[in-house]
Every structure is written in C-alpha cells, then in structure tokens.
C-alpha cells in the first residue's frame, strides 16, 4: 500500500466518528475495525462547556491518526478558514477537504475544491480532497499539489455503494501511483471489498458502521471484507469471459450413450 503523504498505514480502513449510539460503541467499533485513521470535525463550542475536550480525549485514546474535515463548507473561504482552525486544534497538517456544491447530493463543488486545495497546499497542508470520479478534476487536484485523491462511491450517507464502477476503474487506471480512497456512499462490506478488488488503496466510511444495528459487528465485517478484497486484488483475479469454459477436464470422460 502506498504511503499517505509519507505515512505508512497498516489498515486500509478510515473510519468516521459521528452518529454512534455512544462513545463506548464508537471505541469498540474502532477496535473491531482496526481502522488506522479517524475523521473528526470542528463545531461551535459553548462557553464553560468542555464537550470538545471530552470528545478529543476519546479520539486520542483510540490511538489512530486523525483526519480533520471541512464538512459543511460551501465556499473556498469557509473551507480554508476551517482547515486552518483544524490544524491548530488537532495538530496535524492533514485535512479532508470538502467543499460542498449541492445540498441534496452533497456533491463536491469541483471548481471551489481545486481552488481551496491550491491555497491549502501552498499553506503547507496535506490535502485529502473529497471529489467525484471525474478524471479532469482529479488531474487539476494533482496539479494543485494533492498527493491523495478521495472520490465518492455515492452521495454521503446514501449507502448506495459504487454507483459508477466504470468511472472509478478509469480513475484507478489514470493514477496508478496516487493513493486513492473511496470516500462516502458505502453501505455494505461487499461494496468495500469491490473497491479493494478494483485496486483502491483504502475506503473511508462512517454511516454504514455507525448506523448499523450492531456497529461493532459491522465494523468487524468491513475489516474482513477489506482484507478479502485486497487479498483478491493481490492474487491477480482471472479475466471474465462471455462464454462458458468447462473446469472439469474433457479428457478421460466416459462414453455412456
């Protein structure tokens, strides 16, 4: 697996920290998933409250790398300012850059995304852009200095899986040396396995685990599916074909007419 800005991760799973039934289940799900990265955000704090510190303590205790996001930002300025605030609080140059362009689909605004990425790279950030599978946008992001690309599988929280396998395969083929992460839209472990079989380096998910009836069991299921998919990819799968090809040898078959 390639490094992410020089960091070698032992796990191909990046897991979100939102929507769990409780902090204890969040922690148990992380342990079951063996995820190497936790995504986090920044939100308004109330005076006298220590909610942020309490949550930050839980995340630190997970013992994984932290990937702050700019979730909810709709403009370059919002995203850049949020990234700077996140770098100060979380003490990392990593930023999951989200610039949302459409409120129903939460589709990235590719124009603002590229502009924000360029600014943040110049400011010393290591940008993980949440993008679409569009090849031209991906080219522009790499030109802007992104060394990781994170195309969506489907709209955030939809659980639809990999809705454009052709586009995702094309992206993998176009950028063989850039770490690629499927970010958003996965609902089932089989979809994560398919992403691995396609040659993706990692998946980032949240809702599929956190909103499952049993988040800990689902975290374990995703971990195993990702391992299976990555093993299959490394094992060089057979090429599909249109016509049948008997697997049992014809030679030695009895003549019983």
């Amino acid at each position: 697996m390639p490094g992410f800005y020089g960091v070698d991760l032992t796990s191909r799973l990046m897991l979100g920290t939102a929507q769990y039934p409780s902090p204890a289940i969040l922690a148990a799900a992380f342990r079951a998933s063996a995820a190497g990265v936790a995504t986090v955000s920044l939100r308004r704090e109330s005076g006298g409250s220590r909610a942020g510190e309490d949550f930050w303590t839980i995340v630190r205790d997970l013992g994984v790398r932290v990937l702050p996001n700019t979730a909810g930002c709709h403009s370059v300025k919002e995203a850049v300012t949020t990234a700077h605030m996140a770098r100060e609080v979380f003490g990392t140059a990593w930023i999951k850059l989200e610039v949302i362009g459409h409120s129903d689909t939460l589709q990235p605004d590719p124009f603002a995304l590229v502009e924000a990425a360029r600014i943040l790279v110049a400011d010393g950030f290591e940008v993980f852009p949440y993008t679409t599978e569009d090849l031209v946008v991906a080219d522009r992001l790499v030109d802007a200095g992104c060394r990781v690309l994170m195309p969506w599988g489907a709209p955030i929280g939809s659980g639809l899986g990999l809705v454009n396998p052709y586009g995702l395969r094309a992206l993998r083929a176009r950028f063989p040396d850039v770490p690629l992460v499927i970010d958003a839209g996965l609902g089932l472990p089989s979809q994560a396995a398919a992403a691995m079989e396609m040659g993706y380096d990692a998946v980032l998910l949240n809702t599929a685990v956190a909103r499952a009836g049993d988040p800990v069991a689902m975290a374990r299921a995703f971990a195993r599916a990702i391992e299976a998919g990555a093993l299959a990819r490394a094992a060089d799968p057979m090429e599909p074909r249109d016509m049948a090809a008997a697997s049992t040898p014809e030679i030695g078959r009895a003549f019983l007419e």
Binding site: T39, R44, E53, P68, N69, A71, T82
Partner: protein, 65 residues
C-alpha cells in the same frame, strides 16, 4: 460592547479576543477562533482587539465523517 458569539448576541467587557475568551468561559479550552470570518491563531488572540458587532466563532473538536 455587543458582539456575536457563535451566532448569538453577547455582551463583553474585554477589549481583546484573548480576554474575551476567558470572560466567556473558554479559558484554557482547546478551541480555535475566528473573527469576522478570518482565522485568528491562538498566539495572536492577545493582540486582536474586539469591536462592537464583531462576529466571533469559537470551535472545538466534534464527531465527523
């Protein structure tokens, strides 16, 4: 003077962002700040004056995907 803290009107006496954070109960908290949409790094808070009507954002770690 009246400022807008995280979208809510508040009255503060402190003349700087640093002192205002203490006055508003954020002293020592792990927060990031912005004034009127611009990031103010922690070391710059002492030298950042507040004026009537300023919009102050105080953000802290939260769950995210």
């Amino acid at each position: 003077m009246k400022i807008v803290l995280n979208g809510e009107p508040r009255e503060v006496r402190a003349p700087s962002l640093h002192e205002a954070l203490s006055e508003l109960g954020f002293g020592g908290a792990a927060v990031a700040t912005a004034v009127n949409g611009s990031f103010v790094p922690a070391p710059s808070r002492v030298a950042t004056p507040l004026a009537e009507g300023d919009r102050v954002e105080v953000l802290a770690p939260r769950q995210g995907g």
